[in-house]
Every structure is written in structure tokens, then in C-alpha cells.
């Protein structure tokens, strides 16, 4: 773990623990002999905060390595994949499986990977047909197939 990662993960654990304490503020804690539903969550949340603090202390006392790379987020794949999954969930009840799958496969054009339009088109069509045959016809899953 790099120093920057230690700082960030430390902050993450503190934030997560704090969120759990806040979200569980109304749960009954009870006593050890007669635990309420808030007992274990509170203990775990405090544990999270403790781990976070420990990581911050570690980060403070460690010197960054010379070759340490700065943290980077690959926004394009992150956004594209998230949009594809959310798009699936949004479109499936409206367009049915084959159209949704075809659109989703076509969206791969934005991934920045090398591709050829005719091949991608053929794969989108093939995936639409095959997924419908596999999931709906062969496996008999109750998935909407036709629009509306």
C-alpha cells in the first residue's frame, strides 16, 4: 500500500464507520447479556473508525517510496460500464431483452478499445438473438422479451 492509499483508505474507513454509527443511532444497543439490534453494528462501526485512524497514523509515519505512482481513476471505463449496467436495468422492462442487449453491446464502441463497426454490429445482433434463445427459450427465465 502506498502512502497516498493509506491516507485515502484511512479516511474511507473513518467515514464508513461514522456513517454506520449515524445510521444506527436509533437502534437499541442493550447490554452484553441482552443485546439489542444495535449492539454488533455499533461495535463494528467503532472498529471501522479505529482501523481508519490506525491507517492514518501509519500513513503519517511512513515516507512515500520514490517510485510511488499517484492514484488515478480511469473515468472513461468507469462511466461507460456503469452507464451500460444502469442502462440495462432501465431499458429491460421497456424494450425487452434483445433490444437492450443489442444497445448495450453497441455501447462498447465508446470503450476506447480497437473495434470494427461491421464486426461490432454483427456481434450486437448475434448477442441479442443468442441471449434471448439461451435465457428466455432454453432456460425459461421470466425475462421481458418484447417492447412494452
Amino acid at each position: 500500500m502506498g502512502t497516498q492509499q493509506q491516507y485515502l483508505s484511512g479516511l474511507f474507513f473513518i467515514a464508513f464507520g461514522a456513517l454506520a454509527v449515524w445510521a444506527g443511532r436509533d437502534l437499541t444497543i442493550g447490554t452484553a447479556a441482552d443485546m439489542g439490534i444495535g449492539y454488533t453494528p455499533r461495535a463494528l462501526a467503532i472498529g471501522c473508525v479505529a482501523v481508519g485512524c490506525l491507517l492514518l497514523v501509519q500513513a503519517f509515519f511512513s515516507s512515500p517510496a520514490d517510485d510511488e505512482v499517484r492514484l488515478s481513476i480511469a473515468w472513461r471505463p468507469l462511466l461507460l460500464v456503469t452507464i451500460m449496467v444502469i442502462g440495462f436495468a432501465f431499458l429491460l422492462p421497456r424494450l425487452g431483452l434483445p433490444l437492450t442487449v443489442a444497445l448495450m453491446t453497441g455501447a462498447a464502441a465508446f470503450s476506447g478499445e480497437k473495434f470494427h463497426w461491421p464486426a461490432l454490429g454483427a456481434i450486437a445482433a448475434g448477442m441479442a438473438v443468442l441471449s434471448t434463445l439461451l435465457f428466455s427459450t432454453a432456460l425459461n427465465l421470466q425475462i421481458p422479451v418484447w417492447p412494452f
Partner: protein, 501 residues
């Protein structure tokens, strides 16, 4: 002999035409998806879950087990051919396997991996047949304090034996446990952390979490990481190892199998630790250690045998105690629950046909893999040549349909997208998602046993130390943690995992 009559019962179940077919189909699909670069066994099983939904429990279980070995085996194929291990347990296979492939010995490396895995699978099946019933009889002596201590030990062991920062991994376990507690509490029926969202009143589905963290997040990471992908070159001509190869590989296979069978049973153990341990053992025993990393056949045979034996042996605590020793077994428990099967001490005695049928089908599945894979290597090579732009949408479709079809609601797909983003960020800040997944499934179980324990003792925590069995388990846990605090041992652990880079 009890064992033989049990195995005979198993054969009578596993050898029906229908179950043979499920075993075969599971192994085939498991390999097919497992071969795809960047997809480990966990994501493979999660993706293929829906194809088992409409089967009856025995068939479903046999097929799931088949998918599991297929995925495991497919990962090794990818590691050898394109140096891209599907998951961490085939990292070591890539070290020497890929070098063998570059020397034009890809076929021999694949055959060695297949045969070593088969041997390990045969032995591990017998180990399961003997150890699982013994362990589940022992489990009858366990009370709530022992179960609590055992699960805590498993969680700590999983953290120590995984790569990455120990402090952060312990944090990840707790995050996972908290997420696992979301929903209606089993003891009181009260709800917690549901934020008024009706769909999570019954808790978050484990498959959604696993698929988001290991499917979606993995795809994002693969798309971001452009440079590592290499295409398999050349044709695979010769499969069969020479006599010299066999002489070198056979002892390594036996040692790897033994290591894997032992390490796989331990909580936190399984395929990963076994393959790393076997690789360093072989390197230490070799007359000329410098051959390792340059295509030494022992470096393929040993770890492959070990990871297969380890993967299979980790079924023992899962089936006998109902406690998953690693993330993949946690998913297997979730899958079994979908089919209304609860693994645990009673599973063996209540459903012997199911248990023994599954054990025997493991052996058959291993054999099918050898028969299936050696002739089909050419197809796997072709599959690896498909550009990622065409592959990843197909993988995503499988993930989405898989998650959707658990409850037939799109909410789960939205949730999976959330866990995908979460998983990607966690990876970027250096936190491994595997301990979190284990915490997620164990969280509610630990809480229930912990609560019962303190109810028994009237709130007195010393009960964990006054009962000998639980005191011993707590002792091991503390020892594990202390060991990691010692600088020299911590260094050894870091070095053991350095092979990855």
C-alpha cells in the same frame, strides 16, 4: 465399510444420465467463462448461477461444482497461454507456465496442469469423503462460543493469508459484516440500515455484492489496464509430456496435492495459499532453483495440483460446518441457499444422497475436465484472441441477466452497478474486496452465535476463555495476529506474495 457404501450411494446418484449431463455441462460452461481473461472463479460462478435455477437441488449442486472446477481450470489455461491469471491462485502458474508457452511448450504445460489437477482432484475427493463426516461429528460438540471463536479465527486467518495490508483487510472484513447486517434481524424481526428501501428488507443478496465487486469492478479495471494483454502466439502442436517431463513433474504433483489438501481445510485457506506454498516449496527443493521463472515444469505441476486440491478441500469446512473458508465457498453457500439447501453439521446426515452424490460428481467432474480440455485447447486459444471490445459487453450482459433473474427485479441490477463502482474505488485505494465478501456472509452468523454466547454466560466475556475448545481457537487467532506484528515474519509474508509482481 461405511465409506464404501457411502461412495457407492454417491456413484448411484452421480452416474445417472441426467446428473452426468449436468456435471459435464457445468464443467464445460465453467471452463468457457473461466478462460476469458480477467474473470476468476468467483465471477464465473456468479455469472452462471442462473443456468442452475430451474434444476432440482441435486442436479443444481452437481452442476455448480462442475462450474467451480471448470472455472478453476479455465483460469490456469489463461495464465499459461496469455500470462493473464484470471484470479490470484493461478498467478504462480503464469510464472513458469507462460515461459513454457513462449518456448513452444504451451501444449505440454496445459497437459501437465490438467493431469496434475486431475491427480490432486482424485486425492482431494477421498479426503473430503473421509474428513467431512468426521468434522461434522466434531461440530456437534460445538456450542455458540466455539462457533463464534471459529468464525473469528477464520476471518483473521483469511486476512493474514491474503495479500495486501492487514489493517486495511481487517477493516474490509468489518465493512463487509456491517453490509451483511442490513435488513431484518433474524432474532428480533426488527429492521436496521434499510433506509426505507423496501427491496432490502430481506438484506442485500450476496450474489449482487459478489457480481458487482468481482464482475463489474473487474471489467472496469481491465478496460483501464490496457497494456497487459498479450495474444497467444503460434499453434499448439504437442500435448504429451516427455518421459523426462514426467519424472520432474510427478513428485511435485504429489507434494502439491498433499500441501493443498492440508492448507485447503484451514479457515482462510484454499486455492490461493496452497499454490503459493507449493511454488516456494518446489523452488526450495529444486537442485537448480534458477530454472524457476524460466519454464520449470515443476513450477506448473506443483502449484496446479496444490490449487486444485486446496480449492476442493475448502469444501470440507463449508459442507461440514456451514462456515465458508474463503470468498468462493461463501458464494457456494449462497448458491446452495437459493436451492433451499443449508450446509452444516446436519447436511450430511439429513441429505446423504445429496452429499455423497456431490462428492462423487467432483471426481467425475475432474475426469471430464481432462477429457474435455486437452482436445478443446484450440478452441480456448481462439476464444482468447477475441478483442476485448467484443468480449466485455457479452460478459456484462451475463452479469446483468444473472443478477436480474435471482428475484426478477431491476433494483438488483442498479445495486450491482453501485457495488461495481464501490469495488473499483476500493481497489484503487488498495483495499482487497475478498475479505469484505467473506465478512458479508459471516457477519449475520457471527452476530447470532455471539449473541447466544453472551446470553448463555449472562454477559460475561470470559466464557470464550473458560471453555477449552473456544479458548484454543481464540489462542490461535491471537497467535496469528501477534505473528504478523513481528517484523521478521511480516517480511516473510511480504516476500511470499512478492512473486506476484
Amino acid at each position: 465399510m461405511d465409506l464404501f457404501s457411502n461412495l457407492a450411494l454417491g456413484f448411484s446418484v452421480a452416474l445417472t444420465l441426467k446428473n452426468l449431463f449436468y456435471c459435464f455441462a457445468g464443467a464445460l460452461f465453467g471452463t468457457l467463462i473461466g478462460v476469458l481473461p480477467g474473470i476468476g472463479p468467483l465471477a464465473t460462478i456468479a455469472m452462471l448461477l442462473p443456468i442452475t435455477f430451474h434444476l432440482e437441488p441435486t442436479g443444481a449442486l452437481i452442476m455448480l461444482a462442475g462450474i467451480f472446477y471448470g472455472a478453476q481450470y479455465g483460469g490456469s489455461t489463461t495464465a499459461i497461454l496469455v500470462n493473464l491469471p484470471g484470479e490470484s491462485s493461478s498467478v504462480v502458474t503464469a510464472l513458469d507456465g507462460y515461459q513454457m508457452a513462449r518456448q513452444g511448450r504451451a501444449g505440454v504445460a496445459l497437459a501437465t496442469a490438467a493431469l496434475a489437477s486431475f491427480f490432486a482432484g482424485c486425492v482431494a475427493t477421498i479426503v473430503i469423503a473421509i474428513a467431512a463426516p468426521a468434522l461434522s461429528r466434531m461440530a456437534l460438540l460445538f456450542g455458540p462460543p466455539e462457533f463464534t471463536a471459529l468464525m473469528v479465527m477464520g476471518l483473521i486467518a483469511a486476512v493474514v493469508l491474503a495479500s495486501g495490508s492487514i489493517v486495511a483487510s481487517i477493516g474490509m472484513v468489518m465493512v463487509g459484516m456491517l453490509l451483511g447486517l442490513i435488513g431484518t434481524d433474524v432474532t428480533t424481526g426488527e429492521q436496521r440500515f434499510v433506509f426505507g428501501i423496501r427491496q432490502i428488507y430481506d438484506g442485500i443478496d450476496f450474489v449482487v455484492v459478489a457480481m458487482g465487486l468481482f464482475g463489474v469492478a473487474e471489467i472496469i479495471a481491465n478496460l483501464a489496464d490496457r497494456h497487459t494483454r498479450e495474444l497467444p502466439s503460434g499453434k499448439i502442436t504437442r500435448l504429451m509430456p516427455t518421459k523426462e517431463d514426467v519424472i520432474q513433474a510427478a513428485p511435485a504433483t504429489v507434494r502439491g496435492t498433499l500441501l493443498g489438501s492440508i492448507l485447503g481445510v484451514l479457515p482462510g485457506g484454499g486455492a490461493l495459499v496452497s499454490s503459493f506454498a507449493s511454488y516456494s516449496l518446489e523452488k526450495r527443493l529444486a537442485k537448480d532453483p534458477s530454472r524457476f521463472g524460466k519454464g520449470a515444469i515443476e513450477g506448473v505441476a506443483g502449484p496446479e495440483a496444490a490449487n486444485n486440491a486446496g480449492a476442493q478441500a475448502s469444501f470440507i469446512p463449508m459442507l461440514a460446518l456451514g462456515i465458508p473458508p474463503n470468498a468462493v465457498m461463501a458464494l457456494m453457500i449462497a448458491a446452495m441457499t437459493i436451492h433451499g439447501i443449508t450446509p452444516g453439521p446436519k447436511f450430511l446426515t439429513d441429505q446423504p444422497t445429496l452429499f455423497w452424490g456431490m462428492v462423487v460428481s467432483m471426481w467425475i467432474g475432474n475426469m471430464i475436465l481432462v477429457i474435455l480440455n486437452l482436445p478443446l485447447v484450440g478452441i480456448w486459444v481462439k476464444l482468447l484472441k477475441i478483442p476485448y471490445a467484443y468480449l466485455f459487453p457479452a460478459i456484462l450482459v451475463f452479469c446483468c441477466v444473472g443478477v436480474y433473474s435471482i428475484n426478477y427485479r431491476v433494483f438488483d441490477v442498479f445495486l450491482m452497478a453501485g457495488f461495481g463502482v464501490f469495488g473499483y474505488f476500493l481497489r484503487r485505494i488498495g483495499c482487497e474486496p475478498a475479505p469484505m465478501v467473506l465478512g458479508f456472509i459471516l457477519g449475520p452468523m457471527v452476530e447470532e452465535q455471539f449473541r447466544r454466547t453472551l446470553l448463555l454466560s449472562d454477559g460475561d466475556f470470559s466464557i470464550f476463555l473458560t471453555r477449552p475448545l473456544s479458548a484454543a481457537l481464540i489462542g490461535v487467532t491471537v497467535a496469528l495476529l501477534l505473528m504478523m506484528a513481528l517484523p521478521s515474519l511480516r517480511k516473510g509474508r511480504e516476500e511470499a506474495f512478492r512473486e506476484q509482481d
